[in-house]
């Protein structure tokens, strides 16, 4: 019987010459991507992290057992959720909704590479990647289901991607385009190299440290369990890039530029909200900006340089949005919190002081906004969410599907263009640029505003919430029901309640 080191090179790369089909028909460009390269070049493809199927199953089984042990232990505590800060529970609802079906879509992307990747070693690695992603879909689904009997908003763990909620529309645009509609080469650059190398460390290392501080052992274990898989299959992207960059460096740079921006927007919202607003102040060690500085600005920049790639052309724009974007979206989301499935909170004076310290160049511009919202709560009874809520229709980017919240409070970066006789709006010049590079790819985006204007979606808020799949029990509210001890409600404002 062959020993492991003799068996592995045979099993991970097993190619043969086609005799009754041509290579082009086995790997058509549309499905396999470009550059096609010659088979001899693909034969040199080599992933740095090699594993056999047996080893894979053993490792995953151990990880599953460790996670399941924590799950069983914590599920015995009926007050597990109640022991966590309500803001952190909101962060869980946000993550549990975004993660699982995105991971499921990633399984499909990996399976496409497991069929159409032009190296057999790549195909083997992608098959294990697909199994990883199925596991990553199942874990949050299981944990979200565990919470469902305690809190109905956890139903969105499974429901989210099946709704016409505006966040789901935006998330589906990213996941469809990055995970379901890409050929294996673009998928690998977008997902393995950009999304997983640049950004998922924010979640799986940065956020797991935060979960530890908060005392949420289960979420911490979920993130670390997933992280070890990500670290392995992210290496696929490095190997693909290594091979194709010299043949088409311009396209590789364009793919990095495109997917870095698309990924950044989503992480900025999901991770930015969690780290800077939904983590209780006493458990915050670093700001979102500091985590991004370490994992993205330093480490991913170094990765790009090591592959001879440049930082994306809009890097200055990215650095500015690191100061502003998630603060812009958070204040907007708070004022339209009933349109999401998790609760939000007004940052307290102490939290605002922390944000001022962490974001001295930008956060002072948000002070008047939070002062205005706090003043509205001062005149409203606790629990009367709609007294402190927006009612106007908001607008969404035709490319990313997120709200028009790029730029600063003094100047919103949105750009309106004419394209084929129709006006389209973009949240930023980068989203506009990406649209103009591939208009046929995005032109049929069916955005929320057009749905309202065509009468497909209702224009009034309450009806729109129903259209978005929300009901009173699960739409977002103020996480503390407006009962802030730092808001002094006086007799003088009692009359306006």
């Amino acid at each position: 019987m062959l020993k492991r080191d003799a068996w592995l090179p045979l099993s991970r790369q097993l190619d043969w010459e086609f005799s009754y089909v041509t290579p082009d028909s086995a790997f058509p460009e549309l499905a396999a991507g470009v550059p096609a390269l010659g088979q001899s070049e693909w034969d040199t493809w080599e992933e740095p992290f090699k594993t056999s199927y047996t080893e894979y199953v053993e490792q995953q089984s151990r990880k599953e057992a460790a996670l399941e042990a924590v799950r069983e232990l914590l599920n015995q505590r009926k007050d597990r959720l109640e022991r966590l800060d309500p803001r952190w529970v909101s962060a869980l609802k946000l993550h549990f909704a975004i993660l699982p079906l995105a991971e499921f879509a990633a399984a499909i992307g990996n399976l496409r590479a497991a069929r159409f990747g032009r190296s057999s070693a790549w195909r083997c690695a992608s098959l294990l990647g697909a199994l990883d992603e199925l596991r990553h879909a199942q874990i949050p689904l299981a944990l979200g289901h565990d919470c469902l009997s305690r809190d109905g908003q956890f139903d969105w763990t499974h429901r989210f991607y099946h709704t016409t909620n505006w966040v789901a529309i935006a998330a589906r645009r990213l996941m469809d385009e990055m995970l379901l509609c890409c050929d294996p080469i673009e998928f690998s650059i977008a997902t393995h190299f950009v999304f997983e190398t640049a950004f998922t460390n924010l979640q799986f290392i940065g956020l797991s440290a935060v979960a530890h501080e908060v005392g949420d052992a289960l979420f911490e274990r979920l993130l670390t369990s997933i992280q070890t898989d990500e670290a392995r299959h992210a290496q696929i992207g490095h190997a693909v890039l290594e091979l194709v960059r010299d043949h088409d460096p311009e396209r590789m740079q364009a793919l990095v530029d495109k997917w870095f921006w698309r990924s950044w927007l989503v992480f900025s919202v999901v991770t930015g909200f969690t780290m800077d607003y939904l983590t209780p102040l006493e458990h915050r060690k670093k700001s979102f900006k500091e985590f991004v500085g370490e994992w993205v600005v330093e480490q991913f920049s170094a990765s790009l340089a090591s592959f001879g790639l440049k930082k994306p052309w809009y890097w200055a724009e990215f650095e500015r949005s690191l100061e502003y974007y998630h603060h812009m979206v958070y204040a907007s989301a708070y004022s339209y919190r009933s349109t999401v499935w998790f609760d939000l909170v007004v940052p307290s004076p102490a939290e605002r002081a922390w944000l001022r310290e962490k974001y001295p160049a930008s956060f002072p511009e948000f002070e008047p906004i939070w002062a205005s919202i706090s003043e509205r709560w001062r005149g409203a009874d606790p629990g009367l969410d709609f007294a402190v809520h927006g009612t106007a229709i908001v607008s969404f980017c035709n490319l990313c599907g997120l709200v028009l919240s790029h730029g600063t409070p003094s100047h919103n970066d949105a750009e309106v263009i004419e394209h084929q006789g129709r006006r389209r709006v973009f949240c930023s010049k980068v989203c506009r640029y990406l649209f103009e590079q591939e208009p046929e790819r995005y032109a049929r985006h069916h955005d929320v505003v057009m749905r309202v204007l065509r009468g497909e979606a209702p224009g009034n808020l309450l009806a729109f919430l129903c259209y978005s799949g929300l009901s009173f029990d699960d739409w977002g509210k103020d996480a503390l029901r407006g009962e802030y001890d730092w808001i002094q409600r006086t007799e003088a404002n009692a009359g306006v309640r």
């Binding site: 907007s332 919202i373 927006g390 106007a392 028009l404 919103n412 949105a414 006006r423 709006v425």
Partner: protein, 82 residues
Amino acid sequence: MLVPLYGFVEGDTIGLLVLAHDDMPISDVAKKLLTAASLRVQRKDPYDLFRDGQRLPPDASVAELGLGALARVDLRFRKAPP
């Protein structure tokens, strides 16, 4: 006829959709936009509405100015004299 406009208020964090009538004066469009943003932005008179950097006359109507569907308008507060 209703004319939907993308509206942005200085000091705000999000773009809004304002439904204006084509015979509505710009001053009313501005008022409507400011009301829509009032949860986040405190009103500070006086203010103006701009399109492509050009101040729009408050008495002119949406139709007279040729503001078509989904045009961008910006509301800015006048700076206090030093």
